[in-house]
Subunit: 313 residues, 2 copies
């Protein structure tokens, strides 16, 4: 996030707040302060990146101090009073905020970056998605699980349920009574809100894979109208934050290693679903860095829109 | 395959045939002979495991010598005179052979092991599948690519288009004019023949992942009737060659590391597709060792059925 603030030329006095455990650590020449109820006094904008329970604890303090919070947790994403924003998709929602703007789920951001132009063209009514999610999606312990297992395959996992090296794990989040995980519901719940598409249906299977960074997704989108691949390619080639990588004969298609440490979401493997004779279903593969566009960059892009608006006023 | 012959108690004089390059090599105490037009004289059964072009060269010699060939290549799989067999699914087809029996594609075998009971119960009309395919599916060079890249991330790949370590590659096989790969068409073409289901529609996205052995697959199967998950679980729990691993709250679901070096296909993550309100679509995740059940064991199981029938006669 600090890197993104610099790259997006956000000129601000930055303070780092964390728990007492991290107090005094130095990150990019900034000393971490302990977060207390008084911390937010005089602060304009807060970029939140905590677990839900921690976020819920400090949010009232930030609200009390009159801060605008851009929050990465999922605690407030579905609240009616909280805009849920991907700046390339629904920037107008930013300015409806009442003190909190939520940053969406990482896989959801990446999928919707690939899909929102298709939704604009033909209105998507159903999405079927299988994800390939990087270990860094589970934080530093996810990375260290894979690091340690590559050195010693018998190392005990800390972030994941099982060994992730040379394996795939079809569980991200906890299961509901229907056998669907919390992560798998996010794309429908958050996608409806971001696309302003209350009837959107999403069936998602979320799978962890031994990739350091960048989530990939295999997606079928069923639309209300017949799709035209060239029209889709045209739209995606002009889509901000998207790179069309769709020349399979030249071995050009999205892969996680290509998108690591950059903001653009790569989209390719575009073809009509051969099992839908109506021609209304498009199949694609996309990849994006879930730490960048799936989290930090998206939050900083929201902040930049807020600051631009303020400077205009 | 030699291991499988032993495990399945196939008592036979075994000869190993290969190109001149391998002549004289010793495998399991057997000396490799050079394959010539005369090699098949006096041979009853041939287990073929060559590329298509090589297979097409020696097949007439084997036919001339009156051998029954169980062939792992894809050269003859779709021929009308050649049964395509998974012994747990369509064993009766074995005995319609005219000298050649084809062993199906690995991903297809694994998917159909998970699906044939569901097809029997409700008749599947459409399958949507995303695969997670192990490097060993590309042979020894696939394994060595991953081994070398784990040691040195800049090692040049030989089997794959790109680095596979810490990456996923959405290409297996070549692309047709619609942007669909040869591997992605196999599940429909071969599935129709094995299930005797000429109208079956399959949309598949095949992806290589950095896993040593065992392919995993995320599958949605749309049926003619509403599905009953308990009925499916009941059927799968009695299905030969299948292990139901479907207790997600206890972290029990299929994963490739669990099926390595064994014949059974694991099936789990069973749930109704929430986006199909008719209740006719079931979602599942399965994994199976593509070297064992996806190739060698399936061929040896076919051979065993042939020998049993011969002994009965």
């Amino acid at each position: 996030m600090l890197d993104c603030l610099q790259e997006y030329n956000i000129d601000a006095n930055i303070r780092l707040l964390a728990s007492a455990r991290s107090k005094g650590k130095v990150i990019n020449d900034l000393v971490v302060e302990e977060l207390t109820p008084e911390s937010f006094k005089g602060v304009d904008y807060v970029l939140g990146a905590c677990e839900n329970d921690v976020t819920k604890k400090w949010m009232p303090w930030a609200q009390e101090a009159g801060c605008v919070v851009i929050d990465n947790s999922s605690a407030y994403r579905l609240d009616d009073n909280v805009p849920l924003v991907v700046p390339e998709i629904n920037p107008e929602d930013i300015f409806k905020h009442q003190g909190i703007i939520a940053n969406p789920n990482c896989s959801t951001i990446i999928a919707l970056m690939a899909l929102h132009d298709i939704d604009n063209l033909y209105h998507i009514n159903r999405i079927i998605c299988t994800t390939f999610q990087a270990v860094s999606g589970a934080g530093v312990k996810g990375i260290s699980d894979l690091e340690r297992e590559i050195q010693d395959i018998h190392a005990a996992p800390e972030a994941f349920q099982y060994q992730i090296a040379y394996n795939v794990i079809p569980q991200i989040g906890g299961f509901d009574e229907n056998g669907i995980t919390s992560e798998e519901w996010k794309m429908q719940n958050e996608g409806r809100k971001i696309l302003h598409s209350p009837d959107l249906k999403v069936s998602c299977t979320c799978v962890r894979v031994p990739v350091w960074r960048s989530h990939s997704e295999s997606i079928m989108a069923e639309c209300d109208q017949e799709v035209d691949l060239n029209e889709i390619r045209q739209a995606l080639s002009h889509s901000e934050g998207v790179q069309l990588k769709d020349d399979p004969d030249q071995l050009i298609y999205p892969m996680p290693i290509l998108t690591t440490n950059q903001d653009d979401v790569f989209v390719g493997r575009l073809h009509k679903d051969p099992t839908d004779e109506s021609g209304k279903t498009v199949s694609l593969f996309c990849a994006g860095d879930q730490i960048r566009k799936g989290a930090a960059s998206n939050a900083v892009q929201i902040l930049k829109k807020l600051i631009e608006k303020e400077n205009q006023a």
